[in-house]
Subunit: 117 residues, 2 copies
């Protein structure tokens, strides 16, 4: 089954206001997040590499002490700024608006397997 409808997967609230859908391949976890305005991501770290892309909205993200507001490019279009979080990089943030965000992790987030494939 090469095609997966995200809309058919259950959402899982990992942190208050962060509603995620997850796809796990052999090596990678793909996450699609719907984030409520003003939701806070407490600062944390994990051994996985992480790539974060904002598709909609504005997400303030701090990685290893550096802070940036991520959004979908100038005036809402154009290529966005991407966060590349290294293994064990400390990161946290706040949704300045409602957001849609994609995260990619390597290796698989085994702790995200429990709810939805």
């Amino acid at each position: 089954m090469p095609f997966i409808e995200l809309a058919a997967l259950a959402e899982m609230q990992r942190v208050p206001g962060f509603h995620g859908r997850f796809i796990h391949t052999e090596n990678v976890t793909f996450s699609y997040w719907r984030i409520e305005k003003n939701a806070l991501l407490p600062s944390h770290r994990h051994p996985h590499e992480q790539i974060t892309v904002v598709i909609e909205g504005k997400l303030e993200l701090t990685v290893d002490g550096e802070t940036r507001v991520l959004e979908r490019g100038q005036n809402g279009s154009g290529p966005p700024t991407i966060a590349v979080i290294p293994p064990n990089g400390e990161h946290g943030g706040k949704a300045l608006t409602g957001c849609v965000v994609i995260d990619v992790f390597y290796p698989v987030r085994e702790d995200y397997r429990s709810v939805a494939r």
Copy 2:
């Protein structure tokens, strides 16, 4: 440098009409594609796992003989359908409209390293 401005990276045209920007981490290649309407992706395969997400537009994609039109959810919003292409899965397609598409590869696409980091 945990933040990378995609807009500052050079676009690389890998296939006519497919303009990509690439970020390589230790293990993963992240690609952000601007695709011209009617551009064709010839059927091909590679040993990398691939995840494909359409952010804008409509991309017809065939993976291992199964065809789907990928787009950004119903009425252009909501969670999209994701393609998960297994190692050596044959895939090709056509941009039915102008598209913005994200691909994630594991392991790194060494053949994409040549132009932009």
